[in-house]
């Protein structure tokens, strides 16, 4: 286990964050890229404090499940005094894998690439009547 500070924070409802972080670890063995935070049972101010602490320690991107809501709101509040921090909403596993395994670049570029990968992974098929 590495003691490096996580580059990305996953925040969401229920076990969303822990589940995605666990999936990343299962697929590529990387346990230290992401920190997982659930918004469950945290008052808004406490969630913001947790995210601010990660940002102070070098986290570059916050990934949230929904575009609006307590996780994204807390992230946006932290971004006011951490202008280089990037928020990605609607995160999925494909986006997180791209961030974890992709070429290291600035957070804005990394976030853009992750969003493209995540968006392209969404598809539907079947259901013919």
């Amino acid at each position: 286990m590495s003691n490096r500070a996580p580059r990305g924070i996953i925040v969401g409802h229920g076990e969303f964050a822990a589940g995605l972080a666990s999936a990343v670890q299962q697929i590529c063995g990387l346990a230290d890229v992401f920190a997982a935070v659930s918004n469950r049972d945290h008052p808004a101010g406490e969630l913001e404090r947790i995210l601010r602490e990660y940002a102070d320690n070098g986290a570059e991107i916050i990934f949230t499940d929904l575009p609006g809501g307590s996780a994204a709101n807390a992230a946006r509040r932290v971004m006011r005094d951490h202008p280089k921090l990037v928020l990605v909403t609607g995160a999925n596993l494909a986006a997180l894998l791209e961030f974890a395994l992709g070429e290291r670049c600035g957070p804005a570029t990394a976030a853009r690439t992750a969003v493209e990968k995540g968006r392209s992974a969404m598809d539907s098929s079947g259901g013919e009547s």
Binding site: D41, A44, E46, G68, G69, S70, A72, N73, R77
Partner: protein, 156 residues
Amino acid sequence: MAIVLHRIDDRLIHGQVVVGWGRPMGVGFIALVDDTVAASEWEQELYRMGVPPEVTLHFADVSTAQREHAAWESDPRPGILLTADIDTMARLATATRVTEVNLGGIHHAPGRTQRLRYVFLSPDEEQALRTLAATGVRISAKDVPGGKPVELEDLL
């Protein structure tokens, strides 16, 4: 349809409110009553991002909400009224017809004791709820629509 839910939730607009309650109720508007948010464009923009475009969002301080409440109640669409704390809801209720209040999320803070997983109350807040209930307002806790309601007398 009027206001179908008067809710106290310290997160105000978030997934549980917009998706959990708002979708099945088909809400057409949300009234966010908070003196601080009503005075801040930045805060309002933040909360606006969490609401789908087809849902009207009203921001009001308590005195404005007291004046607007009747108009919201006569809106043909179902709506949710939110406050972040008990005091704001109690002040609103002094001048408006609030018959039922939902405790949806009052989280841990110094001086508060846990009553439910999502409800923590200080002695002053408990008294404020008792006072509000004594005026005829029914108060119960329920975080999501499918949850089991817990009446105030069972909560305290």
